[in-house]
Amino acid sequence: MKQTINLSVNGKDWPLEVEPHMALSECLREDLALTGVRISCNQGHCGACTVLLDGEPVNSCLTLAVDAVGKQITTIEGLARDGKLDPLQQAFIDHHGLQCGYCTPGMILSAKALLEENPHPTEPEIRESLAGNLCRCGSYQKIIQSIQAAGGETGGGA
């Protein structure tokens, strides 16, 4: 039976009618057209569907939409503000922290959560924070460099 819920996504509230068995990943992709939420394994192993719930990375494929009520949901589409890319997004472009792009939104969101908590992470800290995000193109080195660059930049500017 459909339930009427309200989801706060990327700073805006959306009234939605969802079935309880709708995963947050599907709700964001299908009802809100936020296809930057990527689905690959659908089993909580790959991290492609990572979104931030109240700033913390979770796998949206293993989170029900009805369980996200009352939380601030951030998807990759919510990072750029007023047409200006987040420094992390810019760093991923400049430092080639991507190839096919499928893992990229999840990678950036995991990195975003890391930098919010720890603006100057060490390389081992970066690696561990990305352990739930797989990249089959194997671009890890440049992904790590991108995050280091963004970390340096946000830290330096603060």
Binding site: L34, T35, G36, V37, R38, I39, S40, C41, N42, Q43, H45, C46, A48, T75, I76, E77, L79, A80, L85, P87, Q89, Q90, A91, F92, I93, D94, H96, L98, Q99, C100, G101, Y102, C103, T104, P105, I108, I126, R127, E128, L130, A131, N133, L134, C135, R136, C137, G138, S139, Y140, Q141, K142, I143, I144, E153
Partner: protein, 798 residues
């Protein structure tokens, strides 16, 4: 129309204005290889064309496509490794409300379809399925839940047949025959008299090697959406091979090629997985029967257990060597598992030529074998990865016996520019075309080895074969190195064709038929076009892989694009340039041959100040046409006959092995590649990094497992099929040899495939150096520990 949003202007604006934006492309030039003329765009680390869309989530893959009225298509699979369908009752499924169509083997042609590179041969739906997971029926329904209920209502009466899983079992004469045309296909690459060669040898060594089952394990879903309008079909799917897919769809659907429009969407990491795949053919028939658009999206399990995997190899080799290390004869037998529907006799083997400097007699035999296991075919580094996993240890055995260093023996025997290439002979033979003889265009294996050794500190770390670099308690450090080569496309793949459209405002559309899988082809082809045309890179956008819009291109396989397609892209840009200069010559009253274009200016070579902006020229009203001119540059062509390019590479690895647990950690990899001139160093570094992770993962942790009884894959997921993650990634030091290929566009060769090839052998050598035993892959902790134990109890092997 290509559905990928074109948002180039936004990106270029940010790039110019943003605080941390990339400086203009000319400002960040990396050191160009010696002999470079003044290249403006080729050689630059420009960001990927689609980077902005990828980091904002706006990028679209096939799974993002939705059409009005679209149905969900799902596939029914065989639970048996080999069986015959005696009867299939679909009446209950068909009657279920919400079911639009049920497709059975009766609805598809009796004849088989074939993937162009022999990765698949079979019917669209099989009434005699050849592996557990083979496709036997499909349903189109209003949603997945109805589809699920419908498939459960299909009743089948099976005759279960005896099956065969192992390659060595399947080649036996009395083995169950997996396909009506027999289990074994074979070819031979040979040159010289093998017997005489071995007679000349002072030393003969042998080696046999086997590897595990590697899954492409794609990160990223693929889907196929099909919509029919009358007898015209549009199909969206992630594919590396949009045109070969289009051609085969048209052939089997008996439609003219222009009525089948394949819109090739970008794939997630593909590594050879998403070519022409059977689910795309199912989707085409299902949508036609349902009379509505259908989308089949494969789950991770389907992608890993039913589409394709790397051919599982068993390779035996024998090498004859003179006392001074000169190779005189090499005999190799390469058996590989084609799985249920692979149809390959020859994995396009390039390494068979690699050690031919002193013209040894060679005989490389290839046996492709069908078994009742998941389909097998090309995966990144196909053939050269698996065969070098035998030839590299073979060379090491010879070096050890002769007291040579692994570098020394390789430096003595690798081919150089001008050396004869035999490995393409087969292809000519297969197509009944006389072999013209082929010679290598360029090659700098020596640079790869020497520079790699220097960057790695090989001299300080190498202690000899079977000797670790350092031992600290239970932790053993060891190093290893290996070489390989791979093709850069090939004439047999077909002739790429490219269109360069110059718009009235001076912006340019580049149209090619290449497949997009994150390798950066959109960017690198545009760099070639911009360089040739003399315009800024920002003025180019690309449309690729749409068979209704773009010109024909070969499959994006075998590292074809940078070298082979790039050559044609350059020719198309040159064609456009010629037309513009003709118009500009009339406008400027200068003979066109005295004009050139650079940085967006058309100028007189002798008087550079006499110039006109490119975009001004394209806007000018043509005095006869009464509109600005519309310029279309075009080219179709193939590589020159008689010359062939190969990429070369040497990888150096350092591992730490725990002798108590058997776990090997890959600490560092130094990779030096000869890929000719490097179009975009950042793109190429990422390609090499990915290759190392795929090759390293294959031998360290990846292994697809099927149940010994049911044949069903047991680990079609990332929890049980372990790919390397951020915690496992080694430190990488990637660099490039300074080579300018005489054939490739601006001297470019290819890179993507070869990057996987030497890593497994290099790790294998390091494991040998750590524990003194040569192991088959994967080097699981279990296998390593077993070897250590055996060695301790059984004494050291010779």
């Amino acid at each position: 129309m290509n559905r990928v949003p074109a948002r180039r202007p936004a990106l270029s604006k940010r790039r110019r204005k943003g605080k941390h934006a990339t400086p203009p492309v000319t400002a960040r030039r990396t050191k160009a290889p010696a002999g470079s003329d003044e290249l403006k765009v080729v050689g630059q680390r420009v960001p990927l064309f689609d980077a902005c869309e990828k980091v904002t989530g706006a990028f679209k893959y096939a799974s993002d496509i939705r059409l009005p009225g679209m149905l969900v298509g799902k596939i029914l699979r065989s639970p048996h490794p080999y069986a015959r369908i005696l009867a299939m009752d679909v009446t209950k499924a068909q009657a279920l409300p919400g079911v639009a169509a049920v497709l059975t083997p009766d609805d598809v042609p009796e004849g088989e379809w074939g993937e162009r590179s022999f990765n698949y041969r079979g019917r669209v739906l099989n009434d005699k399925p050849r592996f557990a997971g083979d496709e036997i029926a499909a349903v189109a329904a209003v949603n997945e839940h109805v589809a699920e209920a419908a498939l459960a209502l299909i009743e089948i009466k099976w005759e279960v047949l005896p099956h065969v899983f192992g390659v060595m079992d399947a080649i036996k004469p009395d083995a169950p025959q997996v396909a009506p045309y027999g289990n074994v296909r074979s070819t031979v690459v040979e040159a010289g008299d093998l017997q005489k060669g071995f007679k000349k040898a002072d030393l003969v060594v042998e080696h046999e090697a086997a590897m595990g089952n590697q899954s492409h394990a794609p990160l990223g879903r693929n889907a196929c959406v099909v919509s029919w309008e009358g007898d015209q079909m549009t199909l969206w799917t992630g594919t590396q091979t949009p045109f070969p897919l289009r051609d085969e769809l048209a052939r089997i659907l008996k439609l003219p090629q222009n009525r089948v429009r394949v819109i090739g969407m970008p794939t997630g990491s593909s590594n050879g997985l998403w070519w022409a795949c059977n689910f795309q053919f199912i989707a085409a028939y299902l949508a036609r029967k349902a009379g509505r658009p259908v989308k089949i999206e494969l789950t991770q399990e389907e992608a890993m257990a039913t589409v394709k995997r790397r051919e599982t190899p068993t390779v035996w080799g024998k090498l004859g060597v003179k006392r001074d290390g000169t190779f005189v004869a090499m005999h190799v037998k390469h058996y590989f598992d084609n799985g249920a529907h692979g149809f390959k006799a020859y994995p396009f083997e390039s390494v068979s030529d690699l050690w031919g400097r002193h013209r040894p007699a060679i005989r490389f035999e290839f046996y492709g074998v069908n078994t009742n296991t998941p389909n097998a075919g090309c995966m990144r580094g196909v053939g050269d990865l698996t065969i070098s996993f035998c030839t590299e240890p073979l060379i090491d055995k010879a070096a050890a016996a002769l007291g040579m260093d692994p570098l020394e023996i390789r430096l003595k025997n690798h081919i150089i520019a001008g050396d004869p290439i035999h490995s393409q002979k087969n292809i000519y033979k297969r197509f009944n075309v006389p072999f013209p003889g082929e010679r290598l265009t360029s090659g700098a294996m020596d640079q790869c080895i020497k520079r790699g050794a220097a960057a790695f500190g090989w001299k300080d770390k190498w202690r000899g074969f079977g000797k670790p670099t350092a031992v600290n308690g239970n932790k053993v450090r060891a190093v290893g190195m290996a070489c390989a080569c791979h093709i850069c496309g090939g004439r047999h793949l077909g002739s790429p064709s490219v269109i360069v459209k110059v718009n009235h405002d001076g912006s340019v559309n580049l149209l090619t038929g290449v497949g997009r899988m994150g390798q950066g082809v959109e960017t690198t082809q545009a760099q070639i076009a911009a360089e040739e045309l003399g315009v800024p890179l920002e003025s180019i956008t690309g449309t690729h892989a749409d068979s209704g819009v773009c010109p024909w291109s070969p499959s994006t396989v075998g590292s074809v694009n940078a070298h082979q397609t790039g050559m044609v892209t350059r020719a198309a840009a040159r064609d456009a340039k010629k037309q513009i200069l003709a118009l500009a010559g009339r406008e400027m009253k200068v003979p066109p041959r005295e004009l050139d274009i650079k940085d967006g200016w058309i100028y007189a070579k002798a008087r550079p100040k006499k110039r006109i902006a490119f975009a001004e020229m394209t806007r000018k009203v043509h005095p006869e046409w009464l509109t600005p001119p519309y310029i279309i540059g075009r080219a179709a062509g193939n590589l020159p006959v008689g010359r062939i390019a190969k990429m070369f590479m040497a990888h150096f690895v350092e591992i730490e092995l725990d002798v108590e647990t058997g776990v090997s950690k890959l600490l560092k990899v130094v990779a030096v590649h000869d890929s000719g001139r490097i179009i975009n160093p950042a793109v190429c570094e990422n390609q090499v990094a990915g290759g190392v992770m795929i090759g390293g993962g294959f031998v360290l942790s990846e292994n697809l497992v099927w149940d010994p009884k049911t044949g069903r894959v047991l680990n079609p997921n990332f929890a049980d099929y372990k790919i390397l993650n951020a915690l496992d990634a080694p430190l990488l030091d990637i660099s490039f040899a300074e080579v300018i290929d005489p054939v490739g566009p601006f001297g470019v060769k290819g890179i993507g495939e070869g990057a996987t090839c030497p890593t497994p052998s290099a790790i294998g050598q390091a494991i040998y150096n750590a524990i003194g035993v040569r192991l088959n892959a994967p080097f699981t902790p279990e296998r390593v520990l077993e070897a250590i134990k055996e060695q301790r109890t059984g004494g050291r092997a010779a």
